[in-house]
Symmetry: C2
Subunit: 342 residues, 2 copies
DNA sequence: CTGAAAGCGCTTACAG
DNA sequence: CTGAAAGCGCTTACAG
């Protein structure tokens, strides 16, 4: 690799001091520089294809113009996470125009490695961080708080006061289940996750229970199946539910991916959805609209989650204020699998 | 934020010079340091929670321990890219243990912004780069080559000699189509992409044509539909194919996502897959196994693509040698949609 | 085996 | 309006 050109080279070519070059290239407005000098500097920089060294700049300015995006997840989940790309895009759509780079770190759920995200902070690699799927008992969290580092969490963490962005999982799940109730179902099952990941799964389960209670329907533990986010786990959970002596007439799955597996299981059991069994999912990932029958599901604004989280960290970085948490709206998308269109 | 502790603080507490601290913490082996001194330094570092500043280190060492992952894609495609998370995981699974960070940059296909990936290089933010989906006429490519910067491309780019990792799209598509031929189909359609993105789409189309030719089947332009990676485009393409006076008896879709849309269109037209129409996809994304009928498809090793690309760049960085291109194996996964199991 | 010193490439008060 | 100089926090020949 050829030697990079530096500020000094530009200064020499333009016949000015390095200070002046720095001022010109950084558009410093507190100081007036003659138009002629300015042009000389710009021309020299262009001629030499000058690009300031990011490390040197970060060191001097004490900021990196880089944001960390930390994904706490199991690799099995990550590999098939239909939700992630949209979130990634959302983050990127905000950071890029703002001049920030995005450092992505994958953190396996069971990782015991000491080299986790807190090092990004301690090594001053990033100016702010977005945490997805952290558990509330993560030992690094208190440190972040103690250092008053700009952080936004995707998901809700009871017991601490970090700014977060999320959807109201309880309420969304409740509405999905109430939709099934409104269609006349009395025996409604739920397939949710056992994941320790944030409180998403627990909240969706709670929403399900709240809906039943609100309509004086009995809560029956045997009607709750547990999965692990995979389609296969949805498949298995559905099989168990269908094996019950008194099987449910409707099922609320806490993710579309599990609903997909559940759909398969219903078909394999010879049941027609929605005629013999109603099904509602959660997330509204792409395939939900196209599978047969198309999935009635709760639409979660993935891109907006990413964009909002990014906006919030940038806000903290720039103003120093902690923004209020944001709950984004969800919407129940009625399609074929619930039977409302029959 | 409290002031970070620096090398100097550690040196003072341990009662040694900064040089010694640096040697100890970097495990420099060319120089022997007394065990006693070593311990004093390590203790001091631990006591002060010392973490070396990444920018300072990068500046001094002239390397960042960071890899760039550049995704050239349309945002519509990115948002629903079921393939990406596995690739991301693949990259991360190699870089993380090697001590490298991953900087992800999304590059919209139609972006005219000057601030594209070449700046990552010029600003010395990264030590190597993985490019996904670059077009061979990308104007930044020659610069990368001229600067002899470590780069690996995911996908093949005729007309330049960068190291790359890919699958043999022509061959894989050919085998998929030959499978349909072997089932007795004579009138086989193809749904592919118009994307300018690398040569993936063109290659899959070529594989389709090669298969037909190899079996003396006529090539019929009206049997080729073009999509844009979205499920909806697959849906539309299939509708057009079904509207032909002489409709195909089998369809090869160049991606599972488009196959999903195609499946829907077939159902809406009252056709049963595979009884009335055989269908084969490409990619083997998660839902392929669960939709009804499950998709016969070409399995592409997404995680291995990411991991291999990462290994290749690290190799270039560490040895300076340009590795040979790597073509990963694909496999035709026979499921229900092709009718082989009837 | 250890330390003083130069250097990495920038920014930014401060003096003029 | 411009420049000499200190500083950001490391690494690394070099001298002892």
């Amino acid at each position: 690799m050829t030697k990079k050109t530096s500020l000094t080279d530009v200064a020499e070519l333009a016949g000015v001091s390095r200070t002046t070059v720095s001022y010109v290239l950084n558009h410093v407005t507190t100081i007036h520089i003659s138009e002629k000098t300015r042009q000389r500097v710009l021309d020299a920089a262009r001629e030499l294809h000058y690009h300031p060294n990011a490390s040197a700049r970060s060191l001097a300015q004490q900021r990196t113009l880089t944001l960390g995006l930390v994904l706490c997840t199991s690799h099995n989940r990550l590999r098939t996470d239909a939700f992630l790309p949209a979130v990634l895009y959302g983050v990127s759509s905000i950071t890029a125009p703002a001049g920030y780079r995005m450092l992505v770190q994958v953190l396996e759920e069971d990782a015991t490695s000491p080299d986790t995200y807190i090092n990004l902070v301690h090594e001053a690699r990033i100016d702010g961080i977005i945490l997805a799927g952290v558990r509330s008992d993560d030992p690094q969290l208190p440190k972040l708080r103690a250092e008053n580092f700009p952080v936004v969490i995707w998901g809700q963490l009871p017991g601490n006061d970090f700014p977060f962005v999320d959807v109201d999982n309880v309420r969304a799940a409740q509405m999905a289940v109430e939709h099934l109730v409104s269609l006349g179902h009395q025996r409604i099952a739920c397939i949710t996750n056992t994941s320790l990941r944030s409180h998403e799964s627990a909240d969706r389960l709670r929403g399900y229970q709240t809906a039943l209670r609100a309509h004086d329907l009995p809560l029956d533990d045997s009607l709750v199946g547990y999965g692990n986010h995979s389609a296969y786990s949805g498949f298995e959970a559905m099989r168990s539910l269908l094996a019950l002596s008194e099987r449910p007439s409707a099922v609320f799955a806490a993710s579309d991916v599990m609903a997909l597996g559940a759909l398969r299981a219903a078909r394999d059991a010879g049941l027609r959805v929605p005629h013999d069994l109603a099904l509602v999912g959660f997330d509204d990932v792409q395939f939900a609209e196209y599978v047969v029958p198309s999935l009635t599901t709760v639409q979660v604004p993935a891109q907006a989650i990413g964009a909002t989280a990014a906006r919030m960290v940038l806000d903290i970085i720039q103003t120093g204020n902690r923004p209020a948490p944001i709950l984004l709206e969800t919407e129940l998308v009625i399609r074929e699998s619930c039977g409302a269109q029959l």
